[in-house]
Amino acid sequence: MSAADRARSAATGLDRSRVALYLVLLAMVAFYLAPLESGLMTAFKTPEGFRTTTPFALPPIGEFTVSAWGMAFERLSSGLLNSAMMAVPATVLSALFGSLAAYGLTNLSWRGQIGVLMLFVAGVFIPYQAVLVPLTQFWSFVDLGGRIPLAFVDEYQGLINLGITHVAYGIPICTVLFRSYYATIDEDMLEAARLDGASAATIYRRIVLPLSVPIFAVTLIYQFTQIWNDLLFAIVLVSDPSNQVVTVALNQLQGSFVQQFNLQMAGAFVAALPTLVVYVLFGEQFAKGVAGET
């Protein structure tokens, strides 16, 4: 029972303040949804429609069209595919690395680990700009496609570079998330396993990893959103247009058709769909995961 509720209960009967509360909350709902709602409406309008009607109004009869969606999807589909191909493995890898690092820095205690941990934690906050120039240099030196004679490495070189970069930059935040969770694992249990002669690897595989399912859910969701949404690394590190990710494609959609707001809005929704779906669908699971209720 919420404490504030208790505080308020003295004031029962003041229905008016209750109504006001909900009105404010609803106004805030309108505020947070207005850009999305007017975007959605605009995406279904013809150019004539969005020029002559209020953005949040429903498309007038005769000015309704789904053609913007078709076109947006067509222009973004290869970007969507590329983003998915890059973001999914990168997300999983960075989460896995984060889990391993957090285990090594939390459940296996040793002197000086706080220093190493500091480096991981500080890594969360590095502005990407601070590494952009060296990274472009680095990836043009490395030339994975030229070194690894595999067709897919050659074809998806930009995406692989981008994915590896995202993995490396995702490790700090993943480590922090896992660490905060692993710190709550009962030490006695791990100690008992150790006394039974289990190696660190065995303990990780048999005890820690199974316990990590909820935090994996949290980390994967968060990390997927981060990687999917990034623009900066993608424009700098991916120069081959066939490897273009969806955020870049979306940005170009608006670059080339400045006033085609219906197309831009449809495109924005198409590009945001995966993260929106993840957010709406897994929000609850996400909550349970963190709570350790799985």
Partner: protein, 463 residues
């Protein structure tokens, strides 16, 4: 504890945990706290530990399985360009159609890199060229814009392979010079635009009783803009300030209109301070012009502004003659009766040139097809197809002008009668890209604050 039966409590816990979860992401800085107990450890003991790692392997593998179609056919021609709007796009398609007719075996990968006057294309192309993964060819302004590439030897000398005697004889000398900024011929110019145009909607001017040919100098244009603003409902001057290049090129035309081409050459040579008063005067006038542009100039593109002129809601447009491509694709908007153009006041006899060209990057993925394309781009057929739609005149002198329509034929005539064809700053031929970029920043600021002192200083610093 998590199986607490009281629904009220359960509900609250869930919510709190939800909040807690999202919050955890927030508090990334606070890691590894200790808590009093084994929450999280109970109840999930039974599951098998191998889940997580298996999952990651699986999805990793899926990455590879998609790379089936390698598609490295030698005759795949990848072209990066920024012709993505209206008439430009049509012109480019006409060029490709012509090329396909001659070389049906070459597969063309079309890579538009939009962003106004080529701002996004630079990064894309530069990165790829640096990475040793260039496209087959890309659109670029000749002249100074080529220098970052020629400085590092990133463009193939095509003086022998593409520029044969026939072609050299057909191009104008000044244009050939622009194609060899560092000595070697590295580019094939495909068109020449005029920058110093003042387009207008004929009926709008008639209604306001204004005669564009009567305007003698840039100051005179300001007077007309004032009149239009006072006496009509139309936007006197269509202009966009979302990107800085339109203001930059307008300033160039004002400067040439006020001071002439010799002073302009001095400025692009880098000697700005000896012409401080002249540079400032042009900035002052530009600031005055900007009083008469659309209210939404900061959120429109130039072609959107041009639509307003077509629709009769605006009077003038200063723009390169690519703008005319949009007029010809508009229904019932005819040259002479509906729209017309005069050289920007004070610049009659000047044909300030904006040129597009294609180049042959080193490490070329498709040397043969690239050469074929460049050869084609330099041909009469290509330039005859491309230029009428693009709204430009051909750099070759032997292209039949029959298809070019009245306007371009007149432009071509103007070109041949012009005294001088200075390069353009805003379109790369006049100054190196770093200088151009610094000037763009200066004019982006000027669009905001119209601060002549700051802009003058910015221009000085840019060189």
């Amino acid at each position: 504890m998590s199986h607490d039966s009281r629904s009220d409590d359960d509900d609250r816990l869930t919510r709190r945990h939800y909040v807690a979860g999202a919050g955890t992401l927030a508090t990334v800085g606070i890691a590894g706290c200790s808590d009093s107990g084994g929450d999280g450890s109970d109840g999930s003991d039974g599951s098998d530990g191998s889940d997580g790692s298996d999952g990651s392997d699986g999805s990793d593998g899926s990455d590879g399985s998609d790379g089936s179609d390698g598609g490295d056919s030698a005759s795949e021609l990848e072209i990066i360009h920024w012709w993505t709007a209206g008439g430009e796009q049509d012109a480019y398609q006409a060029l490709l159609d012509g090329f396909r007719e001659e070389h049906p075996d070459v597969e063309i990968t079309d890579n538009p890199a939009p962003g106004g006057a080529g701002s996004a294309i630079d990064t894309v192309v530069q990165n790829r060229v640096i990475d040793g993964n260039p496209p087959s060819t890309f659109q670029i302004w000749p002249g100074q814009a080529l220098t970052p590439y020629t400085d590092e030897g990133l463009l193939e000398d095509i003086g022998d392979s593409v520029w044969d005697e026939e072609m050299r004889g057909a191009y104008l000398d000044g244009v050939i010079d622009l194609a060899q900024p560092a000595g070697d011929l590295v580019a094939v110019p495909i068109n020449i635009h005029r920058l110093n145009n003042l387009f207008f909607n004929v009926s709008v001017l008639d209604d306001a009783d204004v005669d564009a040919t009567d305007i003698d100098d840039p100051q005179g244009l300001l007077g007309v803009l004032e009149t239009l603003d006072a006496e009509t409902d139309v936007t006197p001057l269509v202009h966009q300030t979302q990107s800085p290049w339109s203001s930059l090129q307008l300033w160039e035309s004002i400067f040439i209109g006020q001071q002439g081409v010799d002073d302009y050459q001095t400025v692009i040579g880098g000697d700005v301070s000896s012409l401080e008063d002249e540079v400032r005067s042009a900035l002052d006038l530009l600031a005055s012009y900007l009083e008469y542009i659309p209210e939404d100039a900061g959120s429109i593109s130039w072609d959107q502004g041009n639509d307003q002129l077509i629709e009769g809601n605006a009077a003038f447009l200063h723009q390169g003659d690519w703008a005319a491509g949009q007029y010809s694709s508009a229904d019932g908007f005819e040259f002479g009766s509906d729209w017309d153009m005069v050289p920007f006041p004070g610049t009659t006899g000047v044909y300030q040139s904006v040129i597009d060209s294609f180049v042959f990057p080193t490490n070329n993925p498709s040397p043969e097809a690239t050469e074929q394309f460049l050869n084609y781009a330099g041909s009469v057929d290509a330039q005859e197809r491309f230029n009428p739609i693009k709204g430009s005149i051909p750099p070759r002198t032997d292209v039949p002008m029959d298809e070019f329509g009245d306007f371009l034929s007149r432009q071509f005539e103007d070109f041949q009668n012009s005294n001088t064809q200075p390069p353009a700053i805003a379109h790369g031929t006049a100054v190196a890209p770093a200088i151009q970029s610094a000037l763009e920043e200066t004019f982006a600021n000027f669009n905001e604050n119209r601060d002549v002192d700051a802009a003058y200083q910015g221009i000085v610093d840019a060189f």
